[in-house]
Point group: C2
Chain length 413, copies 2
């Protein structure tokens, strides 16, 4: 039998009634001839409740105990879904991370999967066509035998990794939206659902602010070439929409130049003015930030008007902004900057498309269109399949809509 | 270092604040020089919530999935208590049933412990004096690797079994009462807390309706001779009362004739009138009930006034009353009874004491005292260290108080 992995997030399993609905989605695929493994998240709100208790117990909690507490949420859902499936007459059982086993690193709270044993689940497929209901987001460290978790959104990663381990035909990620859109439909009503999107594009979209899938899960899907659908659990279980397929670039017949527009408000800008333009200055700036685990993005360096110094601009996650300023202040002498400026009211808007590889001048059309609307560009970065501009956050909607129209992504009325 | 097992029930770990209080009790014992393993229940109310979800998913749920869901409650508490202990500077970690491991039979929902591996916890004691916080009520079936639970109140059993496996000096069961009383203080204000009670007496008390400890845990404590205290988690953690010690009969210097008065409202009476007094009739009555797993108690047989037939009276748990009547009705011909009567408004009142072994006439004094109060005795059973009378439930309080006074158990004013 071909194998299928289905994954359902927190809103899809929010209560017993929603879990029964998930069971109907699973039953459809079993009837269609698949051996099914289902990966589930905790009921929505449960993870926050558990995290709240841990932090109340100790703000400086032990991450291993955090994992033991928080992993219980998925354990509950996996058992309840197995009960619901059996009520429908389908053989089913729950699997905790340590039972599968899903082996991970020891990095409690944000562990990475190192290996998944698919043998035991596979045996149950073959013996009884038994549906495997797997608790997502969690694993076990093989040396300590302790429960680990993969970090927020980790159930997507659990699902894709399990699909790879089981040799599944595809992985279906069920969520509360019906697919991947050209941009956020709440901002651009003319946004369209994509039928297909390339792994590389989805990876950029996820990295650049589209929150449909966890970045790590897209990486895994790309590496293991797992065709992955994003689709809605709120569709009629007997007649669902296919959603968006994330797949190899070659499987997409006609690639548009730009596939989607993403944006991230989680950016802060830091500018160092009149830095002495000498060797080693970049190391003096970025070394201490790297040591403090600050993720620096969009680095731009331009020679100052005095020709002897240089201005350096870069972005950091908003959450790290204050800390980054403090680090730079404490290294001010070594850096030798005359001034350190910053802004948090900025947004990074990005256009993504594998079609950019074969088209020149894609970005420059954007710069012209944004300038025409009076939008000032603070910084630009480009890569093979995307470009990003940093602008004042007040212009977010205008910029996203402008680029969405410019690249022909608007839905026809 | 001597070892100690402490157990805290649901009300003792009801929220983060109460869990912090538990941590202070544990810290006291660590300071006193013990290597400590703590067994915890789920936060009060959590188990009912989880059970509710399972039953809502399917009233005929799979017991293995029930266990996977319900065991998550203790998992949460174990992690939170480990966090609270570490905050106080004590080395601590949580242990799930499968991590210890606590091996059980496969009887999901009411599994029995078959073996506990104490080696790994012992190693952590010796390496770091690390407090082991063990999720109670749960284990793992060694062949299937699936999570099992021990049934309601099973955390007491987990604690005593762990104490035996670790060779602990004693086991302290913390609860919301401060010890074992001569009878229920809500009914008899003059009830007194016992300093010591013999294993055998406690076993009878638990079996006969005193709900301080689960029967199975007392059996284990008796078999493994684990001195067990029942004490209050609501005492000042720095200056607690010792509670009641359950111990060997020989460790109690002066045994009173009667140690306590227990009562159980969970009894129903069934009487078969004018049963033909011939061989095999008992089998015809009790065989079908045994097959249906009805626990029959207090069997009395008296010859009827016609001398040719016999009346048979016995009790069953109230929950099994209707079912038992139906079973007997369907076997009426084989039994040959003229009439089947029953009553559910009855109560079993028992007096327990190892001192009965060496004193004659203990029960007959009770019969006289009850008759004097106009209390009609429906049935009597006696054993070496207890006797029970079945009476109308309206007389429960009067009968308990009468016996409590009769045997000198009243607290002095």
């Amino acid at each position: 039998m071909p194998r299928l992995v289905m994954k359902f997030g927190g809103t899809s399993v929010a209560n017993v009634e929603r879990i029964a609905n998930v069971a109907r989605h699973v039953a459809r695929e079993v009837r269609a001839g698949y051996d099914v493994a289902v990966v589930v998240s905790a009921m929505s709100g449960k993870t926050n409740e558990l995290v709240g208790w841990v932090k109340e117990s100790d703000p400086l909690y032990d991450p291993a105990e955090y994992d033991a507490v928080v992993a219980s949420g998925e354990q509950v859902t996996s058992g309840l879904l197995a009960v619901a499936l059996r009520r429908m007459g389908l053989p089913a059982r729950s699997w905790q991370g340590w039972q599968v086993p899903v082996e991970t690193t020891s990095g409690h709270g944000s562990a990475r999967i190192t290996a998944i044993g698919g043998t035991r689940i596979g045996e149950r497929f073959e013996a009884a066509r038994e549906v495997a209901v797997v608790a997502g987001f969690q694993g076990v460290h093989p040396e300590t035998g302790r429960i680990t978790t993969l970090g927020r959104g980790g159930s997507d990663t659990s699902a894709v990794a399990l699909a790879a381990a089981l040799g599944a035909e595809r992985c279906d990620i069920y969520t509360d939206v019906d697919g991947v859109y050209t941009t956020d439909p709440r901002i651009v009503p003319k946004a369209q659902r994509l039928d297909k999107v390339a792994f590389e594009e989805m990876l950029e979209m996820a990295s650049l602010g589209a929150k449909v899938l966890q970045v790590r899960s897209v990486e895994l899907a790309m590496v293991h070439r797992v065709p992955t659908y994003v689709r809605s659990s709120f569709d009629d279980p007997d007649n669902p929409n296919p959603g968006t397929l994330i797949c190899d670039e070659e499987d997409i017949v006609e690639n548009p130049v730009v596939t989607g527009i993403a944006f991230s408000r989680d950016e802060a800008q830091i500018t160092l003015r009149r830095v002495a333009d000498k060797p080693g200055v970049a190391a003096a700036i970025f070394g201490p930030l790297a040591e403090a685990n600050v993720n620096v993005d969009m680095i731009i360096q331009v020679v100052s008007d005095d020709k002897a110094t240089t201005d350096i601009t870069f972005t950091v996650p908003t959450a790290d902004y204050e800390r980054s300023r403090a680090i730079l202040d404490s290294h001010k002498d070594a850096i030798g900057a005359q001034e350190i400026e910053g802004a948090t009211d900025v947004v990074k808007v990005s256009a993504i498309g594998v079609g950019m590889r074969s088209h020149a001048g894609v970005a420059s059309r954007a710069f012209a269109a944004l300038a025409e609307k009076g939008i000032n560009i603070r910084a630009i970065t480009t890569s093979e399949i995307k470009f990003s501009v940093l602008i004042d956050s007040a212009y977010t909607e205008l910029a996203v809509r402008t680029l969405h129209s410019l690249y022909g992504l608007d839905k026809e009325a």
